[in-house]
């Protein structure tokens, strides 16, 4: 069982945020191409950081409590998956907050949205900095 200790944390994060896609219509998974294009540089940058940290001895992993797949440089598969799962969870949270609070995020088409949601011609003012 201990092999699954790290991955259990990742599953907890995925399950804990999954409902945001459905019940709050976060639509992160629905925009999967944009998600993939976001994840590629994030995973690359943080894997490089991790490899540097491992090489410098900043931290080590208890491989007995990871899946046991270790990439060259000593990077466990679980850690790579962390850099996929946590960004997805953070985007689901961002989009869920937008869905509920209708605050502007900054990617809205000009004139198409106010406060991050589609409107029918009526401008609603919002104190948000932009």
């Amino acid at each position: 069982m201990s092999r699954f200790a790290y991955v259990a944390v990742l599953v907890f994060v995925l399950v804990g945020t999954g409902w945001l896609e459905v019940l709050l219509r976060a639509r992160v998974y629905a925009r999967w191409r944009r998600l993939l294009m976001t994840l590629v540089p994030v995973v690359a940058v943080f894997c490089l950081w991790d490899l540097y940290a491992i090489a410098s001895g900043h931290w080590t992993f208890d491989v007995e409590r990871t899946l046991g797949v270790v990439f060259p440089g000593g990077l466990p598969l679980d850690e790579v998956l962390f850099f996929v799962v946590v960004p997805i969870a953070s985007l689901l949270t961002l989009e869920a907050v937008r869905s509920v609070k209708r605050w502007e995020v900054g990617d809205e088409a000009p004139g198409e949205c106010v406060d991050g949601v589609r409107v029918d011609g009526v401008r609603v003012s919002d104190g948000d900095a932009s």
Binding site: R25, A30, L94
Partner: protein
């Protein structure tokens, strides 16, 4: 470089990316700080498991606090740690979340799957607008 130095550098670099390079300006938006407040709570919980169970162990030369003990859990609070994890992990997590959301918003602004927009929620949430 130590983990402490890299973590500060990481936050500064991503903040510059957000405010000056890609100009997504998430750091100036309520939607970012609200979603980050939710994310950081769960980071403390999940990272507390990873560090408290010593699945990830840190070297005292790389962080402000001491090394993860060989035979016991690190302190829950104090000696540079918050919820078992080095406080540097909070900076690391902040950089991970901000970089992810910054790239996501930047891609959307450039027209990569800007739609379908998030919302409206299928269920009524506390603090929901309109």
């Amino acid at each position: 470089m130590t983990y402490t130095q890299l973590a500060v550098l990481g936050v500064v670099a991503v903040a510059v990316l957000d405010l000056a390079v890609l100009r997504t300006r998430l750091l100036r938006r309520r939607v970012f700080w609200t979603s980050y407040a939710i994310v950081v709570f769960f980071q403390l919980v999940t990272n507390g498991v990873l560090t408290g169970l010593r699945i990830v162990r840190y070297d005292g030369d790389a962080i402000v606090g001491s090394s993860t003990p060989v035979d016991a859990a690190p302190p829950f609070l104090g000696d540079g740690r918050i919820a078992f994890a080095p406080f540097e992990d909070l900076l690391f997590g902040f950089a991970l979340v901000l970089l992810t959301q910054c790239l996501w918003v930047w891609l959307g602004r450039r027209g990569v799957q800007r739609t379908p927009y998030a919302g409206p929620p299928r269920v009524r949430m506390p603090g929901q607008r309109r």
